[in-house]
Amino acid sequence: MFEYLTKRWRTMPLIAIYAVWTILFYQLVFTGWTIEYSFYGVLAVIATTLVFLFAYPKRDRKLLIRLTLFILMVSFSLASFVSESMSWRIIDYVVLLILALFLGRWIVKLSVLRLLFIVIVISLMQVWVPLSDLGLLSAFSIRYIGHINSPDKQVPSIPVALVNDPTRHGAQEIVTLRGHVPLKGEAQELINMMANDPKQAQNAIAAVEELQHEYDVVTVSPGSLGFKEHSATPAELAQLPSYRLGLIDYPFTTPHFINIGSKVRMYVSLSQTPGQLLTTLLQPGSIANALSTLSLSTSHRVSANWANVTGRSSHAVDGLSIQNGVLVGQYHGSAVNVKTSGVAVLGVYPILPLSVTKTPQAVVEGNNLIQIISLTPGDNKVVATLRGTYLYPLTRDIVFADLLGNQQDELLVNTVPAQIFKLSADGQWQNLWVSGQPSFRFETVFHHTNGDVIVANAPADITTSPTRYLGGYRFKQGTLVPVFRAYHVDLVDLHTAYVTSAATPELLTSTYAHQKIMLLAPSKIPWLLITEVVYVVLVILGLLRRTQRRPIQ
């Protein structure tokens, strides 16, 4: 059958579909099984492969094996040089093409033109989705990939943030950093600026000194032809608190934002020299205090710098801020004034059950504690406090989610192990769930009326490895029930976003150590299911072939 299909141009589209299916099946099904179920997954892969091969009669099997291996080999080869420079990619592609055609002629025994057709199909597939990101297709489609080209090793992942798009109501723009590529004559312009513009002189000096290590602060939003990028304006950046883009290696390095004309740039410097840091770190008896002081001073510097560059003067979140240990501000027209141990406002969320109050509460965080503050007019007070311990500290790494669909938010706290807390009507905290895997972490949620879907980075089911992969879960009867799994590692700083439309939630993420950001949308096409169904169809076709007495000529 395969011989018949591969020898006619009219049936070559079927071979192209087979090539796409082979790569998808390998990446979505086989890779998923081996990652999630270790040796059991490998056994499943072997069994599935044997069923597939032996479904076909002997006369088809030889070509089937050779063609399948050829397709996989070409796809892996193409992926191996995708991160190289454009010139090297072209050279490597030509070399690969020659080798693939030679090997194809020798092993698969198809004509050069037909082999070329297959290689082009596989190449186009990798333009559509790079092989390294193909695992995401089981749950997402990739809307945007942005390569950052960081000039600094100190930046392990590029921060991403979201701001309201001034031109599209309800939609958002992505704010991120891009490694600055110095332009010809740029240094001269900056030197002229230093001499002629006293207001810009200080910024120009910094910009020249750090020209090789700077980042442009940019905004990415959908355009008529794909996504467009422009320099972020101070007005856009003023929507963000300083820590959204300013936590690069905090507190060991300090980011500096500078205005150059209408553009904003950033560079990073060490908060202390290696010698100073070594002196600090070699004193275990005082290290906690020394690092705390460093954290506070770095944060203070970044915050002042951010206010200077963006003009953001208020630290209010949802109209509330903390001043000298008091939560102050306005909530729905009522003045709020409550003494608190908090230092940061996390937001206003319905933490108490609706049966207690319909007014949501302010959530503030202090040193290793979270306080829930009632905003009911005339009854502002701390209603509950959740305290961390040194072994399980409560950092700001918290996701708020209505897991049960009862319009009450639970706290998804990324301690190690991760935990879920719910506040009961009497102000007591209930621990709903504790992860059995230390590396499991909550990232964000997709809101849903029947209960939010948790997006998490979770290790595989059967493994001792801490490596995490993207997963979606619903909280049901005290357990997290998987909704989807997408086998992609190194996704960090995940946010629920509304970038391409104000109605459909998307997932914005940065990648650790890979200097790229991605915007993902829940996939409308069930690629995983389609791939599995095609497998079954192909097996049935093979079994039918067994019933045929003679091959089709």
Partner: protein, 249 residues
């Protein structure tokens, strides 16, 4: 034949159910394990002070450390690894973020290397880390010291002591005040100390604490230092590239 087919279908169904993913159960017992395992040890402070006293006789040692701070949604760390020859020589490789630095010091000849170039720096002082622990324990003795089950660190079987006390030694009974009043400087930290069961030497110290940072919230700190290679280094020669750079006209 029918039975066999039914069996195959049942097997396929079970396989498909397993492969579609398992629910993640709650494991509340994980949180209690560390607490249940520890016992109050009235002699704990003395044991730690005894281990510190043993370290005072050292002439050289090696140190490996990791300092991690979690703030916002990020965890960042500094690592260092190297040799100290008391009283004032240092050869340490330091990693801050993804960047490597080399620190070399011999008395007041003190340099660090960044991206292949050496820069002069203020000499690193107080090269006996255990002294800061000694001062802390003398000035701010913990009220309770716990003993944890024995643990093997690298290849050394150790007694483990854990206590909470001040985040830095008090000076004349008071803490140094910081100008950053809006933040919440920690008053206390959790210390875990590993003492070698064979020779009573100090092997490892872990310090855990938190700080409340305005606007940002809690930042947690976890610093671990391992001491080894006692009195095994004869000399710390000056790196050749530092010599070349200094000697260049």
């Amino acid at each position: 034949m029918k039975k066999r087919q039914l069996g195959l279908w049942a097997l396929a169904l079970v396989g498909a159910t397993i492969l579609s993913g398992c629910n993640l159960q709650s494991h509340p017992s994980v949180l209690k394990q560390a607490i249940i395992a520890r016992k109050i040890d009235p002699q704990g402070v003395q044991q730690v002070l005894h281990a510190i006293a043993k370290m005072n006789a050292l002439k050289t040692y090696e140190v490996k450390a990791q300092i991690q701070e979690v703030a916002g949604r990020f965890s960042r760390q500094v690592n260092f690894y190297g040799t100290v020859r008391l009283p004032n020589a240092v050869y340490v490789d330091e990693t801050i973020g993804g960047n490597d630095y080399l620190v070399y010091q011999n008395n007041k000849f003190s340099y660090y290397r960044d991206n292949g170039h050496w820069y002069p720096m203020q000499p690193v002082t107080d090269l006996q880390p255990w002294q800061s622990m000694h001062t802390l324990l003398v000035n701010n003795p913990p009220q309770v010291v716990y003993s944890l089950p024995e643990q093997t660190v690298t290849s050394w079987l150790c007694n483990v002591y854990q206590f909470t006390t001040a985040a830095q030694p008090s000076v004349m009974g008071t803490f140094v005040q910081h100008g950053l009043k809006s933040g919440k400087i920690p008053q206390q930290a959790l210390y875990t100390v590993w003492v070698d069961t064979t020779d009573g030497a100090l092997r490892q110290i872990e310090v855990q604490s938190t700080v409340g940072v305005p606007q940002l919230g809690t930042a947690s700190i976890d610093a671990t230092q391992l001491y080894f290679g006692f009195d095994q280094t004869a000399a710390l020669p000056v790196p050749q590239d530092l010599l070349s750079q200094v000697e260049k006209p």
